[in-house]
Symmetry: C2
Subunit: 357 residues, 2 copies
């Protein structure tokens, strides 16, 4: 008898139909064929998914817990996603709600603790901003980075739209921005980190990370839903000194609970920072979702990073909500200050430094 | 002035709010910052997304067409997805509806035409089945493949749950099944193809494809939503003689129109066959969606493959609906025949061969 991992789905169903529907999910996410056509006893006992519990979750929705065989997953992040929700994602009565992630997906090598020690920041939240808009040439992005860093921010990340476009190719952007931030660091004395955004296939991302390493960087960002889950897992393993930040792009989280996908699975696969759209911004997550997401990420030693329409004016409220183990990422709102970007960045850094929890 | 690609979203909104919402999407999917904070004239004119049209689409939904700068996308499949729907996927009032895919994403090297010529099949639909359940050892899967092939099916694919598990590791499964199918082909004279399922990261998939090529195979399957879009694109480029079949796992198509995602984008990135859950099966796509999906795939020279709860009894209905340029993929329903699998496979092959369109 092999081990099982427990997966919870939220299923829209009437009471009469839920048992059959739950068995249907257990079969779909394991052997994907009529169980009566299986004659191998070990497949029947060890591989076919098992309905472990069905509980009402209110308003015509049931919480269904299914035990999937660990043997069907192995240690590949992509295959875990396949077994958790591959075909069932195509059925619109089901949300993937929660998972006891198998311990083989051990979380980031470098996360919250590494960031605290590398930046010498304790007892307060981290600050960050983003290089935008895309379309600017490399020199303009580098100037912008320097101005942000002069304001004493902890992190400056590429906008997730920055890929390998001809107007700011990665091979030129990464060294130029790294140097610009270095110049600012020599002035401020604060070890601001630049987080380049990775793009392309696994090989392209590897090349970008090697370049980043050669430039003295130790952080990078990618979007696991676009890049592939195994891509995140492989890069985390191959660059163990890097903190990898997961961007939620294409997360379309309506069908996978965001606190699970972004807060738990991305860190389990190796992300040391998890960027997510905070409540009250341009996106629709509830406070409960955001709180659980942040707790899940910290549970893996990863840094939760609320973003998406954050403003300077909300600093105190957001810090009260998330506490010090977080990063405030303010992009557009700082950029709107135009020629006063460094001063606004300073004000932002000061507000976070002076906040009492 | 750089070129634009037109993207259509379906947006839930009242009439008073739709113009502002459309502009919001245009900004989110391009510069992702307040436009008034942008001082670079070429970014304003060439990079910021443009609302091209807004039309009512019934029941509180609007069709919004937005022009995104081709320069922001380049030629990377992942970056195209990022610009089409990266952040906006996180907002639950929007569905990505359609795209004029830039011609740089040229579609599969090998698709429908290659399959017709390699298998010597014209004027009729293709037939296929799947190796299941996972958990069986390699020898059992190979026997099953041989029995299916003896029935004269065109394709035998790995179940998409077959990855690299210890009970049937890819390195043993691929050669064993390839040999078993070869044995059947020598008997039947029909050039049945085996389609192994790829798993792991890009390097693991490359190794599996090299092994497949060494075994004389010319087809393989992967799930782009799990593997990453650039992974599909890279493999299609590196193995130009292979037909790549896209599996819809994790497609969670509620937020991206399946006729776009599966029928258009997967083929555009290099898939020569597009597997999708047909209407009337275990999944919920409508006939209209299935028809458009199949037409989109054929538009790229790719083979549309309805699946998901297909039965022998539905053969005529499905062929009437999809016509001859398709593959019927029947898995569980054939496996349920147990010791009569070869006979049922024969019956299936005959039914498809004898159908008049």
């Amino acid at each position: 008898m092999s081990g099982r991992l427990s997966v919870t789905y939220r299923v829209r169903s009437d009471a009469a139909g839920i048992e059959a529907r739950a068995r249907g999910i257990a079969v779909e996410q394991s052997v994907e064929m009529p169980v009566e056509a299986i004659d191998d006893p070990s497949v029947l006992s060890d591989i076919v998914g098992v309905v472990e519990a069905i509980e009402p979750a209110g308003e015509g929705v049931f919480s269904v817990r299914i035990g999937l065989a660990l043997d069907t997953v192995g240690a590949d992040a992509g295959q875990l996603m396949n077994m958790l929700f591959g075909n069932t994602s195509l059925q619109d009565d089901v949300v993937l709600h929660d998972v006891d992630v198998p311990p083989v997906f051990a979380g980031p090598r470098q996360g919250l603790a590494a960031l605290r020690s590398r930046l010498g920041v304790s007892g307060r939240a981290f600050t960050g901003s983003a290089l935008k808009p895309q379309g600017l040439p490399v020199e303009r992005l580098a100037q912008l980075a320097e101005r942000f860093a002069r304001g004493g921010l902890d992190f400056i990340k590429d906008d997730h739209g920055l890929a390998n476009q001809h107007y700011s190719p990665a091979a030129e952007r990464i060294p130029a921005v790294a140097k610009a931030v270095e110049r600012a660091v020599r002035v401020t004395g604060h070890p601001t980190r630049y987080i380049p955004s990775l793009s392309g296939d696994l090989d392209a991302m590897r090349a970008q990370m090697r370049l980043a390493r050669d430039c003295g960087l130790d952080c990078a960002m990618l979007a696991p839903m676009i890049a592939g889950f195994a891509t995140l897992q492989t890069l985390a393993g191959e660059f163990p000194a890097f903190v990898l930040f997961a961007h939620p792009a294409l997360g379309g989280a309506a069908r996978i609970s965001p606190d699970l996908l972004i807060g738990k699975l991305f860190p389990a696969f190796g992300a040391g920072g998890a960027i997510f759209p905070t409540y009250g911004g341009r996106f629709g997550y509830s406070q409960d979702t955001c709180r659980r997401l942040a707790e899940n990420a910290r549970g893996y030693g990863a840094l939760p990073i609320p973003a998406g329409g954050m403003t300077l004016a909300r600093t105190a409220e957001i810090l009260d909500f998330y506490g010090p183990d977080t990063m405030l990422l303010i992009g557009g709102n700082l950029l709107a200050a135009r020629e006063r970007i460094t001063e606004e960045a300073e004000r932002f850094a000061r507000a976070v430094a002076n906040h009492s929890y």
